[in-house]
Symmetry: C2
């Protein structure tokens, strides 16, 4: 894991839109800066939470250029670059590597279902060979509840054996702690991130690298405090606090709920807009979650209270 380019708490950054569903780049940049100010160790832009799969290729390229042109340090960026199509994934991955991004988070090709490990191995191998750069640090993205196509323990091992200097880590969004633990035990050289902060303390205690988590968009400081204190006496109670919040988010459509919270924080109702096919919460539901969280003592950006 000493070779890994990231550890700690990363946020898959929410992507704000304008009423015409175009990306609001300025608001995105503001949010990226806020996350880093709050202690996020990295920005996993263009993740599932970012609605990245609803963004076009050119939009992703332009938005990454924009962030870097405006001073976001590339080594803090782990853009999602995995698409259904080999050539598109290569294009996005090469673009990120050319910018000096610290890593890329790569979904398996996810349109065709029931594909073999041989086919997925060939996919990742072809991406790596075509990009052909020692600077490529590839993080595997395992999220079977959404992508349906997952990354097996065996596939991880095969890829690590062939590309030990390129396969840097993995994000496990299976929601299955047994799977995360198996990866941690079998591949300690991999920087393994849990996909929900519910598992952060357990991940760290078993040698993991941290978490890349949707709710890192609204509670980065609180989650970071668990990371910073995982060996301390307060670790369990800090973990209990962030788990309680996460459960509250999960009671709603998670992405829409997070955007509703951001809209409240930034005092910008447009922040709640989601690009089709996803939908914003109804106003009443948005107000309800902000109120419920406030009653739990949580307010986005209120670091002293949350962390």
């Amino acid at each position: 894991m000493s070779q890994a380019s990231f550890q700690g708490v990363l946020a898959p950054v929410l992507t704000p839109f304008r009423p015409d569903y175009e990306i609001n780049s300025e608001a995105f940049l503001t949010h990226c800066r806020w996350l880093l100010d709050q202690g996020a160790d990295g920005l996993a832009v263009f993740g599932t939470t970012s609605e990245a799969n609803s963004l076009g290729l050119d939009e992703r390229v332009d938005l990454l250029d924009y962030l870097i042109d405006n001073g976001i340090t590339p080594d803090r960026l782990m853009p999602g670059t995995g698409t259904c199509a080999l050539t598109d994934t290569v294009r996005l991955t090469r673009h990120a590597v050319d910018h000096g991004c610290g890593g890329v988070l790569v979904l398996p090709p996810f349109y065709y279902k029931g594909v073999s490990d041989d086919g997925l191995y060939a996919s990742y191998a072809e991406i790596i060979e075509r990009v052909g750069s020692d600077a490529l640090k590839l993080y595997l993205y395992h999220i079977p509840p959404i992508a349906q196509v997952g990354i097996s323990l065996d596939l991880i091992g095969r890829l690590l054996a062939t590309y030990p200097d390129t396969i840097a880590g993995l994000k496990d969004s299976s929601g299955d702690w047994k799977n995360t633990l198996a990866i941690l035990n079998e591949y300690p050289e991999l920087a393994t991130f849990c996909g929900s902060e519910r598992f952060l303390l357990d991940t760290l205690r078993n040698g993991g690298a941290g978490t890349i988590t949707a709710s890192g968009n609204v509670n980065p400081a609180g989650i970071k405090k668990v990371y910073d204190n995982w060996e301390g006496a307060e670790a369990e109670s800090l973990q209990a606090g962030i788990t309680k919040l996460r459960v509250c988010f999960e009671g709603r459509p998670l992405l829409s709920a997070l955007k509703a919270i951001a809209a409240d924080f930034y005092s910008d109702s447009n922040w709640s807009i989601m690009r089709p096919p996803l939908r914003a919460l109804e106003n009443d539901d948005a107000r309800a979650i902000v109120k419920e969280l406030a009653e739990m003592g949580f307010r986005m950006g209120d670091t002293d209270r949350n962390a």
Copy 2:
């Protein structure tokens, strides 16, 4: 259905690759011409069978340009243009419309699962509004076994009500005849295509437009004969013949099997190559299916025997 731009038998054209997984455009053009010569009523290029979801955006644009530059009549083309991302789908759809393609076959955005009909309605509406052309003839693509995200009866009705001149038809690849029949009964104005020729006669008898079927790549003339004779005395036995063949194809990984048959027909072993994550059949399996079909009296391109 009189407004529909297509009817009959369409093939979702297989895409041949070179050993380095690049598209073999010349071989693709040859196959397109062969299909039309064999009586295919249209070419649904860039379908699921075409491995289109493994093709990059630029590759799809370039390949459509190439076909049309080389004399394939645009009004015979129904390219697949649906991707996960609104802006990419708009780009591909606009490109097809600008070329005068007879229609486009549009998957719903398929990354995010469990999305609402409201969200899917907004997706299709936004595509139609952004393309903004009376020339757009949009065919909805319902293939829940692979895309997971499907198109409900209610969604079809809502889209037809708002865009009666644009929503031209639908391909039902659910494999569920009850669903196809419900669409045929509820929306007779829609040009409904079954996604497998197993249902061709039933589709036609219930007012449907025809079939867009993977095996149309290897048996277009045989399937066309059912279409041409569906009201004749031989209809049932012709249907039984193409059903028997289809069942044989389905005993294998369908796409790989079809490419193995094409490799034999074109005497070009590279025709069997599939782009990752899909995989070619092993040589023994490829030989076995060609042999088994020959024993059933089928040989690709042997129109007299097959049809």
